[in-house]
């Protein structure tokens, strides 16, 4: 299976492990990731801007490239996935936005949201299947108490993202089970980590992320799993004694492809 892959900026800098293990695990599972050529920032820093198309254009280009190749577009960073999926939805359903973006991009054929945008977790669940992932596991993480941290961007807005129930999701817990570990369900698993607030008010962000980790600790977690570089950053800056790892890292470990 071949899919188009959009890594995103942070995966080139701060979140290299997220990218590295995503590629290794995919290879181990028989999926070929074809990196989008000349990709640029998804526009993730501007998620809330709705009246400006410029920030979304690089997403539109990436989506169109996947369409030309006839492949689904895969990303692993929560923010990139969120922006790509929302932009794709806008290209499909917001005629005004689509008209402006197409006018600007001048593709050979207008782009109308044809590409299927999937997150790495959806690749595992829907394209490969958690049962197949389970079969491929070489080092089952038996007995490990793993708390999935969803954050806000991975699932919301639910109507567009359509990955899982936004209030009571199960996809990451199912993933953890596939690796042989025990998922820990705790109340703060889809609360905000503080997000970009950290740039301007470190204390507020710290308060938010320590609550998340404290809640996971109370529920008996040994390790917290995330797909988002910003979440990882905030959670680690909270000063709590709780390891936070990318889901791809744990996957690579279970598949036995982590060590070089």
């Amino acid at each position: 299976m071949k899919v188009s892959y959009f890594p995103g900026c942070t995966l080139r800098t701060k979140a290299k492990q997220l990218d590295k293990y995503a590629r290794r695990a995919a290879e181990a599972l028989g999926v070929e990731l074809e990196e989008i050529e000349n990709w640029q920032c998804c526009g993730g820093a501007f998620t809330t801007s709705t009246d400006e198309i410029a920030t979304k254009l690089s997403s539109v280009r990436a989506l169109n490239e996947a369409k030309v190749k006839g492949q689904p577009l895969l990303s692993v960073c929560s923010a990139c996935h969120n922006v790509l999926k929302q932009t794709n939805d806008a290209m499909k359903n917001n005629a005004d936005f689509a008209f402006k973006a197409n006018n600007y991009c001048e593709f050979e054929e207008n782009y109308a949201g044809e590409t299927e945008v999937i997150h790495y977790l959806e690749l595992l669940r829907d394209k490969i299947g958690f049962d197949k992932v389970k079969e491929a596991v070489k080092n089952p993480l038996t007995g490990k108490k793993v708390a999935a941290y969803y954050g806000c961007l991975l699932l919301r807005p639910g109507k567009v993202l359509q990955m899982d129930d936004v209030e009571n999701p199960t996809i990451m817990e199912d993933f953890i089970r596939a690796l042989g570990a025990d998922p820990v369900v705790y109340p703060y698993r889809n609360e905000c980590c503080g997000g970009y607030v950290v740039m301007d008010d470190k204390e507020s962000a710290k308060k938010k992320s320590s609550k998340v980790l404290e809640s996971a600790r109370l529920a008996g977690a040994e390790i917290v799993l995330t797909a988002c570089p910003l979440c990882k950053y905030n959670l680690e800056k909270s000063g709590m004694d709780m390891p936070v790892v990318y889901l791809t890292e744990l996957l690579a470990e279970a598949l036995g492809v982590k060590e070089d």
């Binding site: 209030e167 009571n168 109340p187 703060y188 809640s215």
Partner: protein, 664 residues
């Protein structure tokens, strides 16, 4: 040739605001057959009617066209006016230039143009109208009430009180409905069972009332005064007339783990059960989904212990047909499912419950015998959070909830909060609300008492999230007046779920050809002036099937529906609509197409002698319409291959002439 008078109504500014009535009257003056045309401010007023009467006499009018509001509003008025002036009432036609013209158009030229066209069509039709005389049909003096909650009970009692027979069809094993599950009633706080059960007993003892419990209406045929309903009596595997209701079977049945729906699944019942102590009829019912005997053929304990010999495992569903003059729909409501509201963790924690579940927790006959204990661990809760409007007034979350206000939640939540504080002063009670709506007699005083005398914390704002942690529920909410986020560690969270019509309502509406709104509430014939009648003649509405309402309103409406039914059943004959089908016997070839499609069975075939041109006699089979039974639906006129069937008052040539006039 007809002599037609045209009367254009202004309806104040309702029509005259967007239609140049003067120009319409002028333009229609020159239409074929028109000998008089005028306009007036309010044609429906006494003065307006007098103008019409005078014109009919002075100009010897043989037909009248009124350009006014929908015929639903004033067709009868103008027909009566014409009749008073000596004209056949069916020579009056209405051109609807209000609902279908002035109200939907914004500018005068378009509105005027369309009004003129609609007027021309009506004139073209009147030119072909013939005087019609209505017949009569008999009335079956028995009413059917569908649903045995407080609405159905009250309607049945009132109809029976007037001396007419009533049948109640209730799908559950007992009548009583939601009110039987409620603990106390607002704002007087009297016990719901204490005021409901005497009425249930009255129903059981009333000689005029029959109860078909554990039964459903599966088919309805006929029309006002002459309905035929098919009632499916579901097999309860207990002989109703033999069972004494002693309850021994319900104690001895070894199948103990069946969720008890009367207590909303918070405790268990046996496979053979009587829903509650005061059930009417007090007869056991075997639940075929859980009975070991019915499923595997091995058990039979209930039959062994029954001293009356009432158990019958071979019972089958039974269908009975019955005739009725009127039908009352009283199918009630249900709280919506909380599945889509996972932010409140209803499916994640046993200690998040709905308000109806809270009623059962407070009730002496409930799963905790009236003690307020948490469903999860049976401990006494100290902090209780009530969340109002869960799924109500929910326009932002379209497919999740309902756009309307469920109306009863503010009051029952105030009741719950007050009773909790009264019985357990050691509890902290919070109520989160969008608005508190208490427009009822003694309602606001009741709510103020909850706040001022009982110290309930009312907080304006919604709960964003409920998170189960350990044995507590972390409630995060906004306090809009203080403009801050608040967090409460609660022991119990109670959700005031929106209410929706019972699921049985939609198929029933189809059966009755009664109309519903987008939320599946039954629509009334007129929202202000005919609030308890459905637009379908002979079908009446009682209770929450029509919209959210509390008990006093339901009882009032139930009485109103009953009085309408009594008014109908008191008549020996009903005047029929003369706009019925008739067959041209010369053209009819006796093919039976019309009889096959007639929903009312109004068409029969007769052998008739015809004189041939050569003076011989030929006997042919031809269709004959029973005018008392025909409802003028027009199905037969569409299927008739020879064009012999036509509808009086809506004849094919009349409709075509209207179309021609519009397209001219």
């Amino acid at each position: 040739m007809q002599r037609i008078g045209v009367f254009v109504c202004w309806c104040g500014s309702n029509i005259a605001g967007t239609v140049d009535v003067q120009a319409v009257a002028e333009a229609l003056k020159t239409e074929p057959g028109v000998v008089f045309s005028t306009n007036y401010q309010y044609m429906c007023s006494q003065a307006g009617q007098d103008i019409m009467k005078q014109a009919i006499k002075e100009h010897n009018l043989t037909g009248v066209v009124v350009c006014s509001c929908s015929p639903r509003m004033h067709e009868t008025t103008f027909r009566k006016t014409a009749a008073a002036a000596g004209l056949n009432p069916y020579m009056v036609e209405i051109a609807n230039i209000r609902e279908q013209c002035s109200w939907v158009h914004k500018d005068m030229p378009t509105g005027t143009e369309k009004a003129i066209i609609l007027g021309k069509a009506a004139i073209a039709k009147v030119n072909l109208n013939t005087p019609l005389t209505p017949g009569e049909s008999p009335v079956t003096k028995r009413a059917l009430v569908i649903g045995g909650g407080i609405a159905g009970i009250q309607t049945a009692l009132d109809i029976a009180d007037a001396g007419f027979e009533v049948d109640i069809v209730e799908k559950k094993p007992t009548i009583g409905g939601k009110m039987a599950q409620i603990d106390k009633t607002f704002p007087t706080l009297d016990c719901a069972a204490c005021i409901l059960t005497p009425k249930m007993v009255d129903v059981a003892q009333n000689e005029k009332i029959r109860i078909f419990s554990y039964a459903e209406v599966t088919d309805v045929k006929g029309f006002v005064g002459n309905f035929t309903a098919t009632i499916k009596k579901k097999a309860r595997y207990v002989k109703e007339d033999v069972c004494t209701g002693c309850g021994i079977c319900t104690e001895k049945c070894p199948q103990k783990k069946v969720p008890n729906e009367f207590n909303l699944g918070m405790d268990n019942r046996r496979a053979v059960y009587i829903p509650f102590a005061q059930a009417v009829p007090k007869v056991a019912t075997i639940d075929p989904d859980h009975c070991t005997m019915l499923k595997t053929g091995k058990c039979g304990v209930c039959a062994k212990v029954c001293t009356a010999g009432a158990i019958d495992y071979t019972q089958k569903d039974e269908f009975i047909e019955e005739n009725y003059g009127a039908i009352v729909v009283a199918t009630g409501y249900n709280p919506i499912s909380m599945d889509k509201f996972d932010e409140f963790a209803y499916n994640q924690s046993k200690d998040v419950i709905t308000s109806l579940e809270y009623e059962r927790l407070m009730n002496a006959a409930g799963p905790t015998a009236g003690k307020l204990l948490r469903p999860s661990d049976g401990k006494h809760p100290h902090t209780i959070v009530f969340v109002q409007c869960v799924g109500s007034r929910c326009s932002a979350c379209d497919e999740k909830g309902k756009e309307y206000c469920s109306k009863i939640c503010c009051m029952y939540t105030a009741k719950h909060a007050m009773l909790t504080r009264d019985k357990y002063p050691d509890t902290d009670v919070y109520v989160f609300y969008i608005d508190v709506r208490t427009p009822g007699k003694s309602f606001d005083e009741f709510y103020r008492r909850a706040v001022e005398d009982y110290g309930v914390h009312y907080i304006k704002g919604m709960v964003g999230k409920v998170m189960p942690e350990g044995d507590q529920l972390k409630v995060r909410a906004s306090d809009l007046l203080a403009n801050k986020q608040i967090n409460i560690d609660a022991d119990l969270v109670v959700l005031a779920a929106a209410i929706e019509p019972d699921k049985s309502a939609r198929p029933l509406a189809t059966m009755l050809t009664a109309s519903m709104d987008t939320n599946d509430f039954f629509t009334e014939a007129h929202p202000k002036l005919r609030p308890v009648e459905s637009p379908t003649a002979g079908v009446f509405l009682s209770g929450a099937c029509q919209g959210p309402r509390d008990i006093p309103e339901t009882v009032a409406q139930a009485g109103a529906a009953a009085s309408k039914v009594i008014g109908l059943l008191a008549k020996d004959k009903l005047t029929c609509n003369p706009c019925v089908a008739s067959s041209n016997e010369i053209m009819c070839n006796g093919c039976s197409s019309c009889a096959n499609v007639c929903p009312y069975g109004a068409i029969t075939y007769v052998e008739k002698e015809f004189r041939q041109p050569d003076r011989t006699t030929l006997v042919r089979r031809v269709a004959s319409v029973n005018e008392a039974v025909c409802q003028g639906c027009g199905c037969c006129t569409v299927v008739c291959p020879s064009g012999a069937m036509d509808l009086k008052g809506f004849a094919n040539n009349q409709i075509m002439s209207e179309v021609d006039a519009i397209c001219k």
